[in-house]
Structure formats: structure tokens, C-alpha cells
């Protein structure tokens, strides 16, 4: 073989080797077995579900903390006012009713102040506002009673207080239903979450 042809073949081989070295490599063959996009999607979904679960757990804790503060105040108020309320309802002497009504207006006002100091979480906002509304109507009722307001006006205020209070209990029932359903969903959908929850 002539030296020129030898050099030509050598140059050709060098170019070929260089070209192979610069070509884009396909790394697909280096993928970890089983590591693919679907797994990434599943992992992301789990993170989202975990967030929902965390939010639900937070809501439950917030509701419990609210209830632990709210209901003892309510219970204490009932204990303080029930006998005066009985006297107000049973008395047939207007002067006695005025005395009771005045005392009740003050007690309901104190009760309202105590309730207003509670920081209600978002989940209980509706129930909390209805409770405040109900108490406000009761205060107004006793105030108007002391001012000798007409019966119609008093009946309306009493009705409004009852409507707001009934709405409050409906909303509390709704919240309990919401938590029951959420718990049931967690129990059936993912045992791990049930374990975390307990």
C-alpha cells in the first residue's frame, strides 16, 4: 500500500472516531429500573393528598380548640343566668320583670364580650357569627323590654334570637358531619393516614 493511501485511511479512521465521540448520547439505557415519569406523578399526587390530610387534621384541631374555649363559657353563662331567666319568665309583676331584665341584659352583655374575645378559626366562622348574632338579639330584647317596647317588636327580637341560635346548632351539626365524613374517607382510602391520625 502506498504511504499516501495509508495516511488517508488513518485520517478517515481518526475523523470517524472523533465523530462518534461528539455525537449525542442516549442516556435512556442508564435509567434506573422502574424509575419513570409515572412514579414521579404518583409521588406528586401523594404530596397533594398529604397536604389535604394535613389541612383536615389542622381543621379538626382548630375546631377542638375552639370548642374547648367556647362551650365552657356558654355553659358557665347558662349556670349564671338560668335562675334569673326563670324569675323573668314566671314573674307576673312588671317591676320584678324589669329588675330581672336589667340583670339579664348585663349578663348577656358580659357573655357577648367573653365570646368576642375568642379567636374563631375559619372553619367555625359561620357558627361563631350566628352565636354572636343570637346573643346580640337577646341583649337587644332585654334592653327593649326595659324600654317598654311594643309586644310585636319584642316577639320579633325573640324570634330572631331563636333563628340565629337554631342556625348555630345546624352549623355545628354540619361541622360534625363534615368531620365524620372526612374521617370515614380517610379510613377507607389510606390505612397509613389512619395510623398517622391516631
Amino acid at each position: 500500500m502506498k504511504p499516501f493511501i495509508k495516511v488517508l485511511i488513518l485520517v478517515f479512521v481518526c475523523i470517524l472516531v472523533l465523530l462518534m465521540g461528539c455525537s449525542k448520547k442516549d442516556y435512556s439505557q442508564y435509567k434506573e429500573p422502574g424509575f419513570n415519569q409515572d412514579i414521579i406523578k404518583v409521588k406528586s399526587l401523594n404530596v397533594e393528598q398529604q397536604t389535604t390530610f394535613t389541612e383536615f387534621k389542622d381543621e379538626m384541631e382548630e375546631f377542638k380548640s375552639f370548642s374547648d374555649e367556647f362551650f365552657p363559657i356558654w355553659s358557665e353563662h347558662i349556670n349564671k343566668t338560668s335562675s334569673t331567666l326563670d324569675d323573668f319568665n314566671s314573674s307576673t309583676i312588671l317591676e320584678e320583670k324589669f329588675i330581672c331584665s336589667d340583670a339579664l341584659e348585663k349578663r348577656y352583655s358580659e357573655f357577648l364580650s367573653q365570646l368576642e374575645n375568642i379567636k374563631a378559626p375559619a372553619i367555625t366562622k359561620k357558627a361563631y357569627e350566628l352565636a354572636l348574632e343570637s346573643v346580640s338579639y337577646r341583649i337587644l330584647f332585654f334592653k327593649k323590654f326595659n324600654q317598654n317596647a311594643p309586644v310585636n317588636e319584642l316577639s320579633k327580637l325573640e324570634g330572631m334570637a331563636y333563628i340565629a341560635e337554631a342556625g348555630f346548632w345546624d352549623e355545628i351539626n354540619n361541622l360534625y358531619r363534615y368531620f365524620d365524613e372526612g374521617m370515614a374517607r380517610l379510613h377507607t382510602s389510606d390505612d397509613d393516614k389512619y395510623i398517622v391520625f391516631n
Binding site: E133, S155, K156, G159, M160, Y162, I163, D170
Partner: protein
């Protein structure tokens, strides 16, 4: 105008009785007897016996099947207006689909509830002479 209230909560029955009585005394004189039931079995008996002009019924009264029961009641008593009370705002659309236009959302402020009830009863007052 005879009204029948169908509500399981005794508290809400008392509240509704007070509110409707106040409206009767102040704004809608045509309101007549206000009756109430707290059991499903009593509801059908009262409907048959009293034939009220207006039925005010809680959305959850017939064991969560009120929406299925309402068209039957409407067919049996076509002259009777049905007002639904519910905590769930999404149900309003569902009742509209079956021809029930009167819906009051419970759980809003008592002021809103009273205004809605007053509006409804005033509307019924206008309808009552045609019916009678």
C-alpha cells in the same frame, strides 16, 4: 292562608312560629292558622287533613329524600306552595330543576332569614285571593 311547618328541630319550630306570628301581626294579615309537624308520618296526615296553602319544609325533613318527596306532594296538592328551608346553597338549583322556586337558606344571619321569610309571605299574600 293556612301554613304548615315541617321541621324536626323543636328549637327551629319555636323560632319559626315566633317569626311568622310577628309577620302576621305586623305585615301579612292574611296569615291564618300556623300548624306544625316534626315527624314524616304526621306530615302526610296533616297535608291530607288540613290541606294547607303553604308548606314550609326543611330540606332534610324526609330523611334526606325531601327532594324526591316534594314532587309527589306537589302533584297531590297542586294549589299548595312549597317553601324549602336548607343549610345547603347548592340545593336551590336542584329544587329549581323540579319546579320549586321558593327557597330560603338557613345559616345566614337571622336578619337575612327574616327578610326572606317576609318577602315570601308577602308574595303569597298577593297570590292568596286568586287561590281562594
Amino acid at each position: 292562608m293556612k301554613i304548615l311547618l315541617a321541621e324536626k328541630s323543636k328549637n327551629l319550630i319555636s323560632a319559626l312560629m315566633l317569626v311568622i306570628t310577628t309577620i302576621k301581626d305586623t305585615a301579612v294579615k292574611e296569615i291564618g292558622p300556623i300548624l306544625h309537624v316534626d315527624k314524616v308520618s304526621s306530615l302526610y296526615k296533616e297535608l291530607k287533613k288540613e290541606k294547607p296553602d303553604v308548606l314550609i319544609i326543611n330540606g332534610g325533613f324526609v330523611d334526606h329524600k325531601t327532594r324526591e318527596a316534594v314532587p309527589v306532594m306537589q302533584e297531590l296538592y297542586p294549589a299548595m306552595t312549597i317553601l324549602i328551608l336548607s343549610m345547603d346553597p347548592k340545593l336551590e338549583k336542584k329544587y329549581l330543576e323540579i319546579g320549586i322556586e321558593d327557597f330560603i337558606l338557613k345559616g345566614n344571619s337571622a336578619e337575612d332569614f327574616y327578610a326572606s321569610m317576609l318577602g315570601f309571605l308577602k308574595k303569597e299574600q298577593k297570590r292568596s285571593p286568586i287561590r281562594n
